[in-house]
Amino acid sequence: MREMLLSARPIHPFRNYIESMLTTPGTDGRFGDFGGRYVPETLVPACQELEASFHDAWADPLFRTELDDLLRDYAGRPSIITECHNLGRQLGIRLLLKREDLNHTGSHKINSVLGQALLAKRMGKKRIVAETGAGQHGVASATAAALLGLECKVYMGEVDVERQALNVFRMKLLGSEVVPAKSGSRTLKDAVNEAMRDWVATVEDTYYAIGSVMGPHPYPYMVRQFQSVIGKEANQQCQQLLGTDPDVVAACVGGGSNAIGIFSGFIDTHARLIGVEPAGGAAVGRGVPGVVHGMRSYLMQDEYGQVQEAHSISAGLDYPGVGPEHSYLASIGRAEYPSVTDAEVIEGFQLLSKTEGIIPALECAHVVAWITREAPNMQGKTVLMNLSGRGDKDVAQMMDILG
């Protein structure tokens, strides 16, 4: 399917002339059959206002300059690419890491949050709410709020509050309020529910900073645009380093923002795009289309449409849904979404630490696990992995697991 689609398109020399596979949704907010805006009526005008404000800001050179300056001078962009000689040799591949773990606050989440916080200010909002799983988006939101003088409240599942205690403390230190979500599975899905309930009540002065490429239109599109800086840089860096595109581009997928960020830079190339899901939260792999959190997308659910609880060692991927653009890319065969087990992830976490001296976030350890498993089928190939975050936040949890 993928081969067929790609061979039908002239790629390299004509890159500027062909239509990109990167979708720009229309006012219906759709990527193919996925996406949309399934929100309570109360929120519709807010989503429309946000859509208009984002389009306006994104087209405004002053806004873009302000954001680029923050990304450079505050977040530390561009992030470097590190070649993993030791692990690459061991696996028989050429392995490159895009180092989003080196960003300020330790993950890719800051890219989107700085954009959204600037937008919130531009829209005259005084307060932001956010949901968080691993706490990385919460920490990034708290950071941006501190920097830009916004009030910030972060909803986090009670289970995650426990397993990511370090990030909870960081958020509080940064001046944000952290509210444990006590309903349902008490993880990311329920934190999203609570954040949406907050937003329904406070929409007039509050901006909802969603942490991934999910939610109602325009969030999936907007967050992708903010995260596309990863792919744009990585593409240029690959041209310099390799003189060509990598054979494989791989990233972990919770909601899918770091994955779509790096995919966006390679979507019109021959590179295989791999989004690695946790076996216990494989929305694309095991889900069927459904509607929750404002979007139509692949979703783990029962036969009556009750959303199932995800179970993953990694709080950031513990989510039964996925951003709609990933559902679309899967449906047209442009990207693949394999999954790995918690046990493989624990191996991957240790492997990258020991061979390269880089402790990855548990989320990214999923990608290491997939690459390790697939390496026999990729001998001699170049694999670009998005290292979306650093592992410090997971060290306490891993101490328990590894004893």
Partner: protein
């Protein structure tokens, strides 16, 4: 377009035009004692009843209805088990279901509409299906003769209201406040303001729901609106008490409405 006047709207218009204020309680389907609560509400003066189909992720609901939904799901409730029990209930007033869109989506629009018809349900209220996402459901609902109650919110700009009303049948659900379902100490000022805006534009019954928490607030809301939908305060009676407590409560609200508005 909303083409026909169905059973719910016909009934509500008739009651309203006879000078009565409309009272529509909400009851979570599948919650222990729910069918008795439906009967008790009907026997004590409800004009129609909204049956909630519990959903795993009810983003428009506050703590009380979340709790009721969770408990109902723990008992093994499914849409089909609710429809099955509904077939054995004949309370003589129209029934509507309140459900989140994924419940409809997973059954399929057409199949879900037919399931409602077979269960004797007249209308559907789908709080996470705004106007822009309603087209596919409405085709199936209209074809099956199911009325689609649309919600209007205080945040709606003026130009949006006529488009919502155009697509609405049964009644128009005026969301009383910015926020989720749940009891409040006072009726929000947004409630009657929105109801007045809607009354100026339409003849379809205008009911205020979300945050109408007791008889006094029901009376206050009905000064402007044609009546009220009451959810959390009803479910609290069932969660903490029983169907009789629901019946007594509905009776209190009915009496307050009737004594205030009698002969007007």
């Amino acid at each position: 377009m909303a083409t026909h006047t169905g059973r719910l709207e016909t009934h509500l218009r008739k009651q309203r035009d006879a000078g009565r204020k409309l009272l529509v309680p909400y009851i979570t389907g599948g919650f222990e004692g729910w069918t008795d609560a439906v009967r008790a509400a009907a026997a004590n003066g409800a004009d129609a009843i909204e049956i909630g189909i519990p959903f795993s992720d009810p983003v428009m609901d506050g703590p009380m209805i979340q709790l009721a939904s969770e408990k109902s799901l723990q008992r093994g409730t499914t849409p089909l088990s609710i429809f099955h029990e509904l077939r054995s209930i004949d309370v003589g007033i129209p029934l509507a279901v309140m459900c989140y869109y994924n419940t409809v989506h997973s059954a399929g629009n057409e199949r879900f509409a037919h399931q409602l018809v077979e269960a004797g349900v007249s209308a559907a209220i789908i709080p996470d299906m705004p106007l822009e996402e309603s087209a596919q459901w409405c085709v199936s609902a209209d074809a099956a003769g199911i009325e689609t109650v649309m919600l209007a919110a205080p945040t709606a700009p003026q130009e949006r209201l006529p488009r919502i009303l155009d697509r609405c049948n049964g009644f128009v659900y005026a969301v009383g406040l910015l926020g989720v379902t749940g009891e409040r100490d006072e009726l929000a000022g947004t409630a009657t303001k929105l109801a007045a805006r809607l009354k100026a534009l339409t003849d379809i019954p205008v009911l205020i729901g979300v945050g109408v928490s007791n008889a006094e607030q029901a009376v206050e809301a009905s000064q402007t609106a044609d009546g009220v939908v009451m959810g959390a305060s009803v479910m609290r009676r069932l969660v903490e008490g029983d169907a009789d407590a629901v019946g007594r409560y509905i009776n209190d609200v009915r009496s307050a409405l009737d004594s205030t508005f009698a002969g007007k």
